[in-house]
């Protein structure tokens, strides 16, 4: 600024006050908007190896190298008025799911480490967790053997298993219930993509929505027993019945059994 005008104090304060006021307004507006923009919609998934959402929004420079590096054109940079933070990469599983490339090309050239470049095993990805959100429309829960989500899962028979239950409606059939194991699920979205219903019954959700959390003090008896290699409590002593000679007692079944009954069997 080589042609500085002399400004008196009053002018300086007036002009400075205007500027600071305007900036404060602008800052407040952007700050408020930023808070909203930081909440990812549940249908949007980040690429594999993404930092936590809070860190991701501070690290990602929105360059789109991951988009170009994805061989299947799955990733998309958020445009103006989309619900995802402007310019950041995401995908929608129902539109096109992650193919889980073994060499994970999308993370390799990330300049800022918003995606973990050193990630080696795509099966360790945590893009989200599949949840069978609708147990009333899922074909398997209606008693059919659709099994599509189970069969398309890239972590086959580990991330989704079919658990057998009694079909109480017919009384004589089985239900094969698709059951997601969160520690194995990468959130690739293949199951949601493949679900044959007009609206998927199984959906990949962000981990924070998909998972509950057990109390820190909870202990699962059977697991503790496995860990210890033996029962942790003294086994019950078998009950001794003081009965007349020849009699026996079946607690869960027939009750008192006389010698005649025994002989008759």
């Amino acid at each position: 600024m080589s042609q500085k005008k002399r400004v008196n104090r009053r002018e300086f304060l007036a002009e400075g006050g205007k500027a600071v006021g305007g900036l404060a307004l602008l800052g407040a507006a952007i700050g408020g908007y930023g808070k909203q923009a930081a909440s990812m919609p549940a249908y949007a998934l980040r690429p594999p190896g993404a930092l936590s959402e809070e860190d991701f929004l501070g690290a990602c420079v929105r360059c789109g190298v991951c988009v170009k590096d994805c061989p299947y054109d799955i990733l998309h940079l958020a445009e103006w008025q989309e619900e995802v933070a402007l310019g950041t990469p995401y995908f929608i599983a129902r539109d096109i799911p992650c193919e889980m490339c073994e060499d994970i090309p999308c993370v390799r050239n990330c300049p800022t480490g918003a995606l973990n470049r050193t990630m080696e095993d795509i099966e360790k990805a945590e893009m989200g967790t599949a949840v069978l959100v609708d147990q009333e429309t899922c074909l398997n829960l209606l008693g059919l053997r659709c099994d599509i989500c189970y069969r398309v899962c890239p972590v086959l028979d580990e991330a989704i298993t079919l658990e057998r239950f009694h079909n109480t409606r017919t009384g004589s059939h089985a239900l094969f219930v698709p059951t997601v194991h969160a520690d194995q699920c990468t959130g690739c979205g293949k199951c949601e993509y493949a679900c044959p219903l007009p609206v998927a019954a199984i959906k990949v959700l962000p981990d924070k929505l998909a998972k509950g959390e057990a109390g820190a003090h909870y202990r699962l008896g059977w697991k503790e027993k496995e860990k210890a290699g033996a029962a942790l409590v003294t086994p019950d002593i078998e009950h001794q019945y003081n009965l007349p000679s020849g009699f026996s007692y079946d607690l869960l079944g027939d009750g008192l059994i006389s010698p005649e009954q025994k002989g008759g069997q």
Binding site: L23, I30, G34, G58, A59, C63, H76, E82
Partner: protein, 292 residues
């Protein structure tokens, strides 16, 4: 004597090419950078001649990219925001930002604005229409406001631990939009255009854009500078002031006020070369900051 329209004198003296060539060079520079990005691996056809084994000449966007699949380039303005937001130093981005910084120390910080940034085409068009229709300025904000906004960007990044400015930055929005899909982003670009056209001459680039402010600081002591080499020949036609996106930078060097040398050593000069084109008596030329 009635004033001739802006550029008329240069046209008479030098012909069309000499009075438009830096503008043409800048448009070629801006468009070919975008074209290289858009062509992706197809661009390597110029090197390998066929596409059996294509490689990426440049991949990414102006925010950050990889050249020839090896050299990283990162926008220092964006990298600065990641650091302010509390993210760790990342070697790739750091190297990329340093290379870019060195480049602009050579060619002039705001050469980014006039030779690279596509938003320049939008605001130049608005400026051109403004001259064409003789629109008067409405509201003149201080050109120093952009430094306050730059300050705001810095403060917001630190306080929020997030790149808040990038949620609203029209410049990166436009650059990204051209390469990855604009969507509703056109609304923002048109808004900038209309603001420049109807409200304030060179309003966005010259008064508000914190990215330009950042680059002006980055290239404060850059090597290549325009100088008013033949300032004695100036016939006071004022065409350079009419066409310059930062007209306040010209006067000291052109008029030699307070013993200022002919080198336009002003951080806001974008090294666009429009003054060279538009000047009939050929006062201005590109040169080094050290040749006085």
């Amino acid at each position: 004597m009635a004033r001739k329209p802006v550029g008329e004198a240069a046209l008479e003296h030098k012909g069309w090419w000499q009075s438009n060539r830096w503008l043409i060079f800048r448009r070629i520079s801006q468009l070919s950078i975008l074209t290289l990005f858009l062509m992706g691996p197809l661009a390597s056809i110029w090197w390998v001649g066929e596409l059996d084994n294509p490689f990426w000449v440049i991949k990414g966007s102006l925010a950050s990219n990889v050249v020839l699949e090896t050299v990283p380039l990162t926008d220092p303005f964006l990298y600065m925001q990641t650091l302010l937001a509390g993210q760790a130093f990342e070697m790739t981005a750091l190297i990329g930002a340093l290379i870019v910084t060195l480049f602009y120390l050579l060619v002039g910080g705001r050469a980014y604005c006039s030779w690279v940034c596509p938003m320049n085409i939008v605001t130049d068009s608005a400026g051109w229409l403004r001259r064409k229709f003789g629109l008067k300025k409405r509201c003149e904000l201080s050109p120093r406001l952009r430094f306050l906004i730059l300050g705001l960007v810095i403060v917001m990044s630190v306080l929020a631990g997030s790149m808040l400015w990038e949620l609203v930055n029209p410049v990166t929005l436009f650059q990204r939009g051209i390469l990855y899909g604009m969507g509703m982003g056109w609304i923002v670009v048109i808004a900038v255009f209309l603001y420049d056209l109807l409200w304030s001459r060179n309003g966005w680039c010259g008064h508000l854009c914190p990215m330009g402010a950042f680059y002006s600081l980055l290239g404060r002591f850059s090597y290549i500078r325009i100088r008013a080499a033949e300032r004695e020949a100036c016939d006071d036609c004022m065409d350079c002031f009419s066409i310059c996106p930062e007209p306040q930078v010209i006067r000291p060097s052109l008029k030699g006020e307070h013993g200022v040398g002919p080198v336009i050593d002003e951080s806001q000069c974008t090294n666009c070369g429009r003054c060279i084109d538009i000047c009939g008596p050929e006062v201005f030329r590109f040169g080094s900051r050290f040749v006085k």
